[in-house]
């Protein structure tokens, strides 16, 4: 469905539509980079691309761009990075797609507020990227996933039209298309301005690291811990690749926010429900957290999926007790509504990670349904490259 339009023509035509813009052209990568300033310009750029059948690929920071044979437009959101609204009263911030998460977090911190989800790939990520990346984001029993933090959004659709929804905590005005846009990883639209839920910085942030003594038992008990103590974040790491004498090979990281007494009460619940399967460790929380970051991608094949209680028990059974040199490294999160989110890193030499266009949340039938529809929404496939931005992570 490609247009066959050359880079020079794309550049010339675009400069007619958005005069005064610096457009850069790369013959090696067959792309013309555009940096729109506002949603209106995006409407014009994507509208042009849709008419001419020129693919549009957003420029992500955490990934390598897909290699393309056709000339295409590379969208750089760097100049759309304003914080456009902040309401203390309603606990909401609205930021543009190109806002760096680190900048947004710092800005909020100055206002005494915080996001309710932790970005996974480092804070260099821009907001649109964070929201569309297939990874579920670091989420916990208390606040849920990153998508649950999205209150409302606007997005550019593959036709160039701007999608918006009303500003309300819940709606019954038809299907919730903002969720579909996020799940489509770019194929249904690219977010432009996003209202996110924020909350005041907690009086106290209790970071607790526990060494796990009995992995199957701790995993079985984690469900109850999540339900009773509702940690803001909780994860279990097993067969950690840098474990040594001091550093436990299996540990749990738990974060609790709130008032002193409330946090103490919840911490007690964590201890009680883990029972003898875990104990406090001297290794600081941050060290364990950082350790896990350094191991992320160097061990080979990585896969992620959701599983239920039984599935998790079976997985832990198959991994066995204690660190084994070639055992996969596991990270377990979520523990909400009978579902845990599993990341497995297999040792180097394992088969390469299969690329997936399906996000982790969507069922197979749901994915099929989305794929069918995206063909009707975007008959020339100009946004069909967007989801592939994440195929080459790192």
């Amino acid at each position: 469905m490609a247009t066959g339009m050359s880079g020079t023509r794309i550049r010339k035509e675009l400069s007619k539509h958005i005069p005064g813009h610096r457009l850069t052209q790369s013959d090696a990568f067959r792309l013309v980079t555009v940096q729109p300033d506002n949603p209106q310009e995006l409407h014009t750029i994507v509208g042009f691309a849709a008419r001419e059948g020129v693919p549009v690929v957003p420029a992500a920071h955490a990934t390598r761009p897909p290699v393309m044979e056709d000339w295409h437009i590379r969208l750089n959101f760097g100049r759309m990075s304003a914080i456009v609204d902040f309401s203390l009263e309603s606990g909401l911030v609205c930021a543009q797609a190109g806002t760096k998460l680190a900048d947004l977090s710092d800005w909020l911190m100055e206002k005494g507020h915080s996001l309710m989800v932790r970005p996974d790939y480092g804070e260099d990520m821009e907001l649109w990227e964070f929201l569309l990346a297939p990874d579920a984001g670091n989420f916990g029993p208390r606040f849920g996933s990153k998508w649950e933090q999205v209150f409302s959004l606007s997005a550019v659709l593959p036709s160039g039209r701007i999608f918006e929804n009303s500003l309300a905590p819940a709606r019954a005005s038809g299907p919730d298309f903002s969720r579909i846009i996020l799940a489509g990883r770019g194929a249904f639209g690219l977010p432009l301005e996003v209202y996110l839920k924020v909350r005041p910085l907690p009086r106290r942030r209790q970071l607790t690291a526990l060494a796990i003594l009995d992995l199957p038992e701790a995993c079985a008990r984690a469900w109850k811990v999540a339900e009773a103590a509702q940690p803001e974040f909780m994860e279990i790491v097993a067969n950690q690749c840098r474990s040594g004498d001091k550093v436990p090979a299996q540990f749990a990281l738990i974060e609790l926010w709130g008032e002193r007494t409330e946090v103490a009460r919840r911490k007690e619940l964590v201890r009680k429900h883990f029972g003898k399967s875990a104990k406090t460790t001297d290794v600081p929380y941050e060290e364990l957290l950082g350790l896990e970051e350094t191991c992320r991608f160097e061990r080979g094949a990585r896969s992620q999926y959701f599983t239920d209680r039984q599935g998790l028990a079976e997985l832990i059974d198959s991994v066995g007790q204690g660190p084994v040199a070639d055992a996969p490294q596991l990270r377990l999160r979520g523990f909400v509504h009978n579902q845990a989110y599993v990341t497995i890193e297999r040792p180097a030499g394992s088969p390469p990670r299969p690329t997936t266009t399906q996000d982790l949340f969507t069922s197979t039938d749901g994915s099929w349904l989305l794929q069918e529809t995206s063909r009707h929404l975007d008959p020339r496939g100009i946004f069909s490259w967007a989801p592939r931005v994440w195929d080459e992570v790192g």
Partner: protein, 517 residues
């Protein structure tokens, strides 16, 4: 295909006990509970269109047969729950068949340890709740229509119950769905498929009002029954203080079971006041202010048919009188848990209420509300009998916009109708406002015209604040005209789904968006 042939073919497919074409049945399936349908009936007129036939599906195979037949013959079909919808979402706009799902009413699985229940879509909410209660569980979903609405209908309309501040709306309870798509294929979504409970495609079907498929299984999360529930009332001289109080409660770690703030008139109508805030008998005060004694005063203080007919004929006067009545706004709050936990929660309420200048009225108003919590909606028939109409408009916005939007809507509507409201379904970021409005007009035509003017004025006011035009009743045919502003670009996405899934446009056409497939 001709109506008679459609019915004959359906009988062949399903068996004659599952297909009904009796006139009185067809008439009762011509409309849901949308007020325009009621007005027409009361004027003694027949509906402009009724279904060709009604099919009663007993299992997913029946549903598939009907859907495949409709797709092949290009006969539109409308999924039916209990018909309690109030937006015209199952009113036929073309010659169609009605697919009633109430015979699909089984509980398919209940796993208390995993807090999940899977049911067929035609199960009535109250029956499900009773079944769960017997196992020490609750759905936590208590719409006023719980006795006359189905689980499938809840999901299709994104329904909300009275305890939503704690349990959320139906979409927050939803873990999985089975859906028969317009081509007859079955899709299993969320945890009923191999997806997550946050499968985004659940969010496509929830709220689709039967336009994208027929829901044939619903998996919901359930909660243990609370040990105890307790209720209280608080009064605020200034409505906005009450709103601030609700906001602070929802932004604290409290998770109240109920939080409903009635504006002064709704407090009065709900029978919470017998005296004004100055201590005067409410009937006497109303009579004194109106100078009319009897009828108009009665219209305000009781649902007296004669009084309403007179009072509702001049809504702007009535609204003005009510403004003059020195009544207070009442907040009903509910909490749940163990005894000690309940005391602890009320202590925290006391601090928040005091900071918002509220007065604690004790448990009586709260318990009185709980006892009569389903009653108010059913008083409406008195009004219809008096020749008036009554309807409700449930909108929502952020806390920041809530009071200004409330005032704008009251101003916009009070020219046309008598209006009152309560604030319920509260969240940390905002809240919904539930307006009840009524007017009397002598002819059906003038009634319809006032009704339409009121809706237009109200929704336009909502959209000036970027609020949503529906928090939990849905869109149907009633609010379709306002969808381009509710969600610019939404129509394009909806159309793409319709093109992909329902190219023959057989699934409940003419609802939500006005599109041409």
């Amino acid at each position: 295909m001709h109506g008679q042939r459609v019915s004959d073919e359906l009988r062949k497919l399903l068996g004659s006990d599952k297909v009904v074409t009796d006139e009185q049945y067809l008439l009762s399936y011509a409309s849901d509970m949308i007020p325009t349908g009621q007005l027409r009936k009361l004027a003694g007129r027949l509906p402009s269109r009724k279904p060709l036939s009604i099919c009663f599906a007993e299992d997913v195979e029946d549903v598939r047969r009907v859907v495949k037949f409709c797709a092949a013959e290009r006969v539109p079909m409308i999924p039916w729950g209990a018909g309690s919808g109030v937006c015209g979402s199952n009113v036929p706009v073309e010659d169609s068949i009605a697919l009633d799902l109430k015979r699909m009413n089984r509980v398919l699985s209940l796993v208390p340890e995993e807090r999940q229940v899977t049911v067929q879509p035609g199960l009535i909410g109250e029956e499900l709740e009773e079944r769960l209660n017997a196992r020490g569980l609750t759905m936590g979903h208590f719409p006023s229509s719980i006795a006359c609405s189905t689980v499938g209908g809840y999901v299709a309309c994104r329904s909300a119950g009275q305890f939503s501040s704690r349990y959320g709306k139906i979409e927050d309870m939803l873990l999985g769905l089975e859906v028969v798509l317009p081509n007859g294929e079955v899709a299993r979504l969320g945890i009923l498929g191999d997806g997550h409970y946050k499968d985004p495609v659940l969010d496509l079907i929830a709220g689709s009002e039967g336009t994208l498929g027929v829901i044939t299984e619903v998996c919901l999360k359930v909660e243990p029954l609370p040990e105890k529930m307790d209720f209280r009332g608080y009064a605020f001289l200034d409505l906005e203080d009450g709103i601030q109080c609700m906001r602070r409660v929802m932004q604290s770690d409290l998770r109240p079971t109920v939080l409903r703030l009635y504006d002064p008139l709704d407090s009065l109508m709900a029978g919470f006041h017998s005296k004004t805030s100055d201590g005067e008998d409410i009937h006497r005060a109303a009579a004194r202010l109106t100078g009319l004694k009897g009828t108009l005063a009665a219209a305000i203080t009781e649902l007296n048919a004669a009084g309403l007919a007179v009072g509702l004929f001049r809504p702007s006067l009535l609204n003005r009188v009510v403004e003059l009545l020195p009544t207070r706004a009442l907040l009903i709050a509910g909490v749940q848990g163990k005894n000690a936990k309940i005391t602890e929660q009320w202590d925290r309420f006391t601090t928040i209420v005091a900071a918002a200048h509220g007065e604690d009225l004790g448990p009586a108003p709260g318990h009185a509300w709980y006892k009569r919590r389903y009653a108010v909606s059913y008083k409406q028939s008195k009004l219809y009998q008096a020749g008036a109409f009554v309807d409700t408009m449930e909108v929502a916005t952020t806390w920041e916009n809530l009071a200004p939007m409330y005032r704008a809507i009251v101003k916009a509507l009070s020219k046309h109708v008598f209006i009152m409201a309560h604030f319920s379904h509260a969240y940390p970021q905002g809240c919904s406002i539930y307006f009840t409005f009524a007017a009397y007009r002598p002819t059906e035509r003038s009634r319809k015209s006032t009704y339409q003017q009121a809706w237009r004025a109200g929704l336009e006011a909502v959209q000036r604040f970027n609020g949503t035009i529906s928090h939990h009743h849905g869109i149907g045919t009633l609010k379709r005209w306002a969808m381009t502003r509710e969600s610019p670009g939404g129509q394009e996405l909806f159309q793409a789904f319709k093109h992909a899934l329902d190219p023959a446009s057989i699934m409940n056409p003419g609802k939500i968006y006005n599109i041409d497939v």
